[in-house]
Amino acid sequence: MRRRLVLVTLLFASFVARPSVPSSFSQTPENAPSPTAETQPTSSETSPAPMSTDEHKLPELLPQEREDAVLVLGELRSAVRLSPDSAKDRLKLAQGLYRIGDLDAALDECRAGLKLEPNNAKAHLQLGITLMAKQDGRAAATALKEAILLDPEMTHAHYSLGSVQYSLGNLTAAIQSYRRALELQPNFPDARYRLALVLKLTNRHQEAARLMEEAAIGGIPQAQYFMGNAYRNGQGVEKNLALAIRWWTTAVEFGQQRGAESLSQLRRQALSPDQPERRRKEAIDAFRQYRDGLWAEYPDAVRNDPNESLGIALLKDSQASDGVTLLFAEAYALGETAHDELARLYESGLDTRLAQFDKRILRCFETTAADGFIPSKKALARIYGKGLGVAPDLQKAKAMLKGLSKQEMKTVLDDIAGR
C-alpha cells in the first residue's frame, strides 16, 4: 500500500505538475485551487471558454521551476552516463524529459529502459503516458495494458488506460478501467470524476451524479461545476437551484470559471425584465434559499432578521475570515444587506482582511451590476462618480444608472454631487 501511494505520488508529480490554470478541466488532483474567494482569478467571470483544457498537455513550467527541472535533468543525464545499464536511471531521465516536454527523447529513454528491463511495469506506464501525450492512443493503450499485465494493481495505469480508452471512443472499456482504478484506490476523486463523466455521457445519470458528488466533495472543481449543472437540470438528482448555486460557488472558489458563468446566467435570469415571471421567481427564490442555507453551516450564529447577512453576523462575532468570505458569497448571491456592507467596507476597509478600495469588492460589484443588480449599479455609480479608488468618471457613473427610475438616479447623483 505504501509502495502504491509513493508510486502514484511520483507519477502524478511527474506528469501533471502544472500550475493552476483557471477554468481548466485538468485532471490533476494535486492541482489544488485556492480555497477562498480572495484568490479568485482577476479575469472575471467572463473569461473566454477556449481555455487550455488539454488534459495531457505538458506542464508549462514557471521560469524558476524550469531552471530547477533543467538542473535536475543534468543530474539525471550524468547518472545515466555513469551507469548506462541502469533502467531505473533511464526511467528517471525519461520522466525528467517528459516534464520539460521533450517527448521524443523521453520515449527513447523509456524504450532504452525497457530494453534493459522488459518487465518493468513502471517503464511501460511511463511509455504509455508519454505516448498519450504524443496522441498515439492505440500504442499508449498497448503500453498501458502491458503495464497492467505486469502489475495488475497499478492504479494509475488503469486510470490512464481509462482516459486512453475514452479518447479511442471505447466508453465501456473506459468505464471498466476507471472502476478498476477506484477499486484499487477508493480515495481517488479524480478517477471518480472521470468515471462520473463517462457515465454521464452514456446517459447513466443517477450513478454519474452520485460519483460526481463524491468527486465534488473530494475537491474536484470540475465535478463541482457539473454537480451545479446536474442540480440545475435535475439530471440524476432532484432539481434544486439553491444547491446548484452552492456547487457553482464552490467551483468558483476552487477556480472553475464556468461556475461563475453559470451563476451570472442565473443572476440574469433573476434580474432581467425580459425573463418570464416564473423563471425570475424561481431564480430569486433559489438565491434566497442559498443565502438561508449558509446560516445552517454556522449553527452558532444568531439570526434575528430574515434579511440579515450571515457575513455581518460572523464579522460581529469576531469570525472575520469567514465573515468576509461569506459577505462575498452573499453579495454574489444577490444579498442586498451583504452588498451594502461590502459597499461600506470598500470605502473604509477592514483591518488586514480588506484593504480600502479593495479590488475584489469592485470586481464583485462590476460582475453583479453587469447581470443587472441595481444596488451594485448604484454603488458603482457612486464609486466612479466620487472616484473612490478609481479615477473619477461621471460619464461612466451615469451610464451605470441607465435603466433606473429618475428618483433613484437623482438620489445617487445628489449623493455624488454632495461630496
Binding site: 477556449p50 482516459s163 475514452y166 454521464k200 455521457l201 437540470n233
Partner: protein, 884 residues
Amino acid sequence: MLDASRLWRQFLSSSWLQAGAMGLLATLLAFGLWAAAPTTFTALDWTVYDFWLTHRAPIPVSPSLLIVTRDQASEEEFGSGPWDRAILARLLTSAHEAGALTIGMDHRLDHASPAQLGGAASDALLLEAMNSAGPIVVAQSLDSTLASDSMIVGHLLVTTDSDHIARAVPVTATGDSPSVPAFGIALYEAFQQQTSQTKPSLSEESRGSLLVNYVGNGTVNAFPAVPISAVWRAIEHHENDRLTEWFKGRVVVFLPNPVTGGSWLLPTGQTVTGSVAHLHVLNMLLTDNRLCRLGAASRSLMTLLEAWLVAWLLLQFRATISLLFSGTAIAVYGACILLSLVTAHLVLPLALPLTAALLVLVGTTIWSHLTSHQRLMLLEQDMIRLQQEAAAVRETLVLRETRAETLQEDLAVARAAVAQSTGQQEELSRSADVLRSQLTDAQTQEEEARRKLEGLEQQLHSLRAAASAPTAMGDVELDRLKEECRRLNIITQDAGLLRLYRDLKKGAKSQLTVLLLGEPGTGKELFARAVHRLSPRASKTFIAVNMAAISPELFESELFGHTKGSFTGATADRRGYFELANHGTIFLDEIGDLRVDHQSKLLRVLQERSFYRVGATSPTTVDVRIVAATNRDLQRGVSEGWFREDLYFRLTGLVFRLPPLRERTGDVPILADIFVTEIATQMGKPVPNLSNEALRALVEHEWKGNVREFRHCLEQAIALSDGPLLTKESLRLGSASPPSAGRAKPSDILPDPASDAAVLNCLRQYGFDMQATASALGWDRSTVTQRLKGLCFQALVESNGDQAKAALAIAGDPSHLRTVELKLMDYHSHLLSVIEPYATADEALLECKRRFKNLPDRHFRSVEALVRQHVAHKPAQVKRGEAS
C-alpha cells in the same frame, strides 16, 4: 395459327396498335441505351434544367435563416483544426438564450473528444448544452459515440446523378438504424414544429430524393452569414441585444468545421460540401420554392406516350407531312419541358422521350418498308375474301329474286283464281295474304342482301384504294421501274402495274411458284418471261407451254418425254418440256384449261419435282421454277370441282393479278404510239399520226381482248388507211365493241333494245343483277325476269336439257356462270313443280299458260317443248318405279 394470323392482320391494319408497339419498343430501347451510356443520357436529361437553374433570376433567401460560419478571426482564436466542444456548447447555449427557434450544427458526434480538446468534460458540456437548448439538429455519423435525447440526427448525403452532378438530396437515409432525415429537412421540420406546432411529415411522406433549388451559384456565400468570431465577441461582452437581433426567432445553423472546397459538384459548376447543399434545401423549404420531378413510372409513361404519339403521326400521315407533324410533336414536348419548369417548377424527362422519339422516327420508317409488301398481300387477301363474300351474297340475292318472282307469279295465279271463283274467295284471300307476307319477307331479305352487297362492294372499293396507298412510290422510283419494264418489253406507266412489277421483281428471286392471273392479252407471258429474267435462273432455259394447245393424248409425252419404244412411233428417246427446262423456268400457260386427270399428273411434278418418262422405269428429277398463268377463276374451279384444290394451293406461291387494259387507260396513248410505229415500220408504211378523236376513242373503248385486241385494231386501221392521219372512223371501233357501262344510254346499246340479244347483253353487263338491268333498260324488274326466264327455257331446249351447257350459253362470260346456273336451275325446277301434278302435257300446258302468262310467246314455245319432253319421259319413269 388462325388466331395468330388474324391478330397479325388486325395488328397490321391498326395504326394505333402499331404505334403502341413501336412506342413500347422504342421506350425499352431508350432505356437500354440509357443503361449503356448513363452519363451522357443523364447529362442530356438535365440539360434544360441545368440551363434554367444557372440562368434564371435567383430565388430569395429566407429571412428566418441565419448561418454562423467559421472565419479567419475565429480560427486565429480557437485554432485551425477541430475545436474544443466546449466552444460549441457555449455557442449553442448563447444562441438558445438569445431566442433562436431551431438550431442546427454541422458537427458529428462520432468520436470522443481527445484529451487535447477537453476530453470527456467538453463532450459532457456539449451534451448538456444540447439538452438545454435542444432539440439540436446535428450531422449524422457512422458511429454515434455520443448520444443525447434532445439531438436530432440529420444526414448530409447528397444524391449525385450519373453525370456526377449533385442535384438532389435524399429525403431520408436508411441503413441498419431507423431512417435518418436529411439535415435540411430535419431543421425545417423542427422549425415548423416550433412555429406552427404541427409536425410536418415531409421526411415520413417521401422516401425518394428532393431536388435542390439552389440560391445563386449554390455556394455558402449565397447566404448572409455571421462569422463565429463576431458571435463569440458578442457573447464575451454580454452584448445580448446583438445576439437577440441575430438569433431571435430564427433557424440558426452553425458551420464550425474547417472550410474546405467540398466534394459535390453542382449544376452551376461550383463545388460545395454536403452541409451547404442541405442549407439550400432548408432555404428552399423555408421559402417554399420546391422543385418537383416525376417518378420513374411517370417518366416511363411520358416516354411511352411521346414515342407512341410520334409513331402514330408517322404511321397515320404520309411522307413529309408525317415528319413535319412528328417534329412538331417533339418540339411541343420540348416547349412543355421548359414551360413546366418555369411555371410549375416541375422537371419533365428529356433524354428518354427524345431518344425514344428518334428511335421511333427511324424504326417506323424501316417498319413501313418491311411491312408494305405484307400489308399489300393482306389487302389482296381481304379483297379476295370480300369478292367471295360478294359472290355468295349475289347468289343469295339471285335466289331471293327468283323466289320473289315465283311468289309474285303465285300471287297473280291466286288473284286470277279469286276472280274466277268467288266461292273460294276467302280461302284464296287468306292464301293471298300469306303469299303477300311471304313476298314482303322475301323482298325485305332481298333488300338486306342488296344492302349487304353494296356495303361489301364499298369495302372492296376502299380496300382497293387502300391497297394502292401504302405503297405509294416516288416519281424517281416510278421512272426507274418504268425503264426496267421497258427493257423487259412491258410497256406501261400505270403505277399499279409498276407496283405489281416491283413485287414480282422481289418475288422472282425466290423459288416460289408464280401464278399469273389476268384476262387474255394482259401480258401474262411477258410477265412470266420477266420472272425468269429477273430470277437467278436468267441464264438458263425458259420453256413456255400452252396447256390448252397440247393434245390430251400426248400430254405426258410432251411434258415428261418418253423412252424409245414406249409406244408406237417412239423411235427414239425424247426429253419432255420439264426436262428441257431443267435449271430454268417452265411457263405453264392456260393452266386452268388442264383436264382433271392431267392436273393430278402435274401435281406430282410440282410436289416432288420428279416424274417418269413414258415407258421409263426410273424417275427423272428436275430443278425447275414454275410459272403458271390462266384467265380462268381457279378458285371457282376448285369450288365447282373442275380444278384440283391441292394443285391450286401448289400453284399459288406468289399470285399476281394483271390488270386489264381498261383498268389502265393511261397506258393506251403510249401503247398506241409504240404499236403504230412498230406496225407501220413492219408494213413498210410511213408512220401515221393518231387524231385526238381517235385517241380518245381508243382510251374510251373497252378492250375485252386487252393489248392483243388493241394491237389488232391498230394493225387493221393502219393496213386499211392510206392517209397520214388515223381518224376515229378508220379505227372501226363502233360496232365491234359496246361502249362501257354507265356511260351510254340503253338506246345506244343496240338498235332494238327490246330484242333478246340486247336484254341478254345488258344482263351480262350488269352481272345478271335484275334490279340494275331493269333500271338500265328502264323496265320493270319482273319484265326482265320473265325475259331471262324465257331465254333460259330456250337455252335448255337448245342444249337438250343440259343445264350446264345452257347456263354457259346464257352467261357468255364464265364469271357469271354460277349466277346463271342458279337462276336457270331455279326456273326449271319451278316449271317442273308447276307441271308435276298433271298427267298429260295439255293439262300441264294449260296450267303453264296460266302461270307463265307474262312470258313472251316466242319463249312459251320453249316451255311447251320442255313440258312435252318432261311428260314424255314421265311414264317411263313411273313404269320403272312401279317395276322396282
